[in-house]
């Protein structure tokens, strides 16, 4: 008993630095932000306003725009990460002489900062001198304002995100494909007739744990990655590219609306919590059946 006690003291000594910082920068902030989401600043005072911040968010046109932008972006991100991620992994899984070289174009963007990726795409999207408009004009098509057109701005940002992150998601599928037994591997070869049937009935069910996992990190990723919004559009034009985390920044740090920013943060947190619960349920079930 005394040994366990002594071990206990040592364990807590070892855990101490991590626990202090976990408490200060993870647990306490969560409590703080939930509390702040029920308050509003009136003059110098903070007043309890119940769910008013949440009501405002959903009744305000900008708030609605932010919610729908976020949902569109996250859903599109999920679909592309899973389907294009798997298809790219199948292509990257070929046994070719220069396969490492062929993988480089998809790996390099993962290692870039999102800010750098955004700067790179600024060079492509810029109205007069950008590469994309140059190419369009060469083939006789009219140039477009990729980043200042209300319809095009969000898809343009999404392209940057996919360019940067697709390789990351297909890495997980690639690992899953390479772990398949040899006779199944033949089914994963992209050749001959019946490829789509084999993909649907053999490969897709076998990689389903990876699909589940990729879905989770795809949602997390698309919610968090907003650096390119800062560089390319600053949420504009007219909030067409304003998304949850950018909105938190804008309301919290530009307009000092702490209550509103906290309410959005709480919504983000509850999405993350739901995701974690779903993942837990899924893992439990798999353990149960195996």
């Amino acid at each position: 008993m005394s040994f366990i006690k002594r071990g206990g003291a040592v364990a807590y000594l070892f855990l101490f630095p991590s626990l202090v910082f976990l408490f200060t920068f993870t647990l306490w902030p969560i409590i703080w932000v939930v509390w702040a989401s029920f308050q509003r600043r009136v003059g110098r005072e903070r007043v309890f306003v119940g769910l008013d911040n949440y009501a405002r968010l959903f009744s305000d046109p900008v708030g609605q725009r932010v919610v729908s932008n976020t949902l569109i972006y996250v859903t599109a991100g999920l679909i592309v990460s899973v389907f294009c991620g798997l298809l790219l992994a199948l292509l990257l899984n070929q046994s070719l002489k220069y396969i490492l070289l062929m993988r480089f174009p998809f790996l390099a963007p993962i290692a870039l900062p999102m800010v750098g990726a955004a700067a790179i795409w600024l060079l492509l999207y810029t109205p007069r001198v950008g590469l994309i408009n140059e190419v369009l004009q060469t083939v006789g098509l009219p140039p477009r304002n990729w980043l200042s057109d209300r319809e095009l701005a969000l898809p343009s940002l999404f392209v940057v995100y996919v360019w940067k992150q697709l390789g990351y998601f297909s890495l997980f599928y690639l690992a899953a494909l390479q772990a398949l037994p040899d006779d199944v591997m033949d089914a994963a070869k992209i050749d001959g007739a019946g490829f789509w049937t084999r993909l649907r009935h053999i490969i897709w069910p076998l990689v389903s744990p990876t699909t589940y996992f990729v879905s989770t990190i795809a949602v997390l990723n698309s919610l968090q990655q907003v650096d390119h919004v800062f560089i390319l559009t600053a949420g504009g034009p007219n909030n067409a590219t304003n998304m949850a985390l950018y909105y938190v920044y804008e309301q919290g740090f530009k307009y000092f609306k702490t209550g509103l920013a906290s309410a959005v943060t709480v919504l983000l947190l509850s999405m993350l919590l739901t995701l974690a619960i779903l993942q837990y349920i899924y893992l439990e079930r798999r353990v149960h059946y195996e």
Binding site: I4, G7, G8, A11, Y12, P17, S18, V20, F21, L22, F23, T24, F25, T26, W28, P29, I30, V33, L88, Q94, S95, M102, R103, F104, P105, L107, A108, P109, A111, L112, P113, M114, V115, G116, A119, I120, L122, L123, L124, T126, R128, V129, E134, W163, L171, F172, I190, D191, G192, V226, D227, F230, L245, V248, F253, T265, L268, L269, L272, L273
Partner: protein, 276 residues
């Protein structure tokens, strides 16, 4: 590969090559824009491009923005943080893997919470905390939310669990204390996990933007990514876009070299980062 290539096997190769080409264009264009003067790039032929290659844009970018200082700031932030993280995750991972105590339920809950909630979501309260501590515009402000790492702790816990008990007992017989056992027995055999964690941590924080943007305000602590964002604002007109391209490469070069040199290791580390 004994089978002769026919039309149906050549198709996926062509698809991959085509897609790869499309994917590399943005990066290739940036490199061109950095080395070839804008007028030559837009009006000249590829032969003109080769003839007019110059380092001028790099020279200008280096002087327009204090990139040397930004480099120092990023390096201190990234590697200072890494050292602190490695100490914290080794100690915590060891405690969770090897020592049985009462009250571990709450400890696990605390770690799991961080695994679920990425630091960037808690911008607002963490900014308040850092401001109240008087840390704004300093390295500690940038590091603080990441000092404890649940991902790293669980990675090390997993690695430490696989170390045979006999090794630990033998060291204890020799009179080593717990800290000495951790340092001399456990750390050397779990080096690959520490390397995997380091690669993920370095890439993540080298590229980080939003949190440093909020807590830095002068060249004293501002990292490369924030410096680059200031450069993009300066060249919004497209006037100095060769400088912007050069600046982007200055910021991204170390990471690009890291991927090229350590492609396999890099891939493995990123896969392990997924096992959260």
């Amino acid at each position: 590969m004994s089978r002769k290539r026919d039309a149906s096997t050549i198709l996926p190769v062509m698809l991959l090559a085509g897609l790869g080409l499309l994917w590399i264009i943005p990066l290739a264009w940036t490199i061109l824009a950095a080395f070839v003067p804008t007028t030559a790039l837009l009006n000249g032929t590829p032969l003109d491009w080769v003839r007019s290659v110059t380092f001028q844009a790099f020279d200008e970018a280096w002087h327009v923005a204090p990139f040397a200082r930004y480099y120092i700031n990023t390096i201190v932030f990234v590697f200072g943080l890494l050292v602190l993280q490695l100490v914290a995750i080794s100690l915590a991972g060891f405690a969770l893997a090897r020592i049985k105590v009462i009250g571990m339920g709450f400890v696990f809950f605390l770690f799991l919470t961080q695994l679920m909630v990425p630091g960037s979501v808690l911008l607002l309260p963490n900014y308040q905390t850092v401001a109240r501590l008087g840390w704004l515009d300093s390295y500690p402000a940038m590091m603080a939310p990441y000092f404890a790492s649940a991902f790293g702790t669980f990675l090390m816990r997993q690695a430490f669990k696989q170390v045979p008990k006999e090794l630990e007992e033998a060291a204890r017989m020799d009179g080593a204390n717990t800290l000495q056992i951790l340092w001399h027995v456990f750390i050397p055999v779990t080096r690959s996990s520490l390397v995997a964690f380091s690669i993920v941590s370095i890439t993540y924080h080298w590229n980080e933007f939003l949190w440093p943007l909020l807590v830095t305000s002068t060249v004293r602590s501002r990292p490369l990514t924030v410096g680059l964002s200031l450069l993009t604002q300066m060249s919004e007109t497209g006037a100095q876009w060769d400088q912007l391209a050069a600046g982007t490469l200055i910021v991204a070069a170390p990471m690009l070299i890291l991927v090229m040199a350590l492609q396999k290791q890099f891939t493995q580390s990123f896969l392990s980062s997924g096992i959260k």
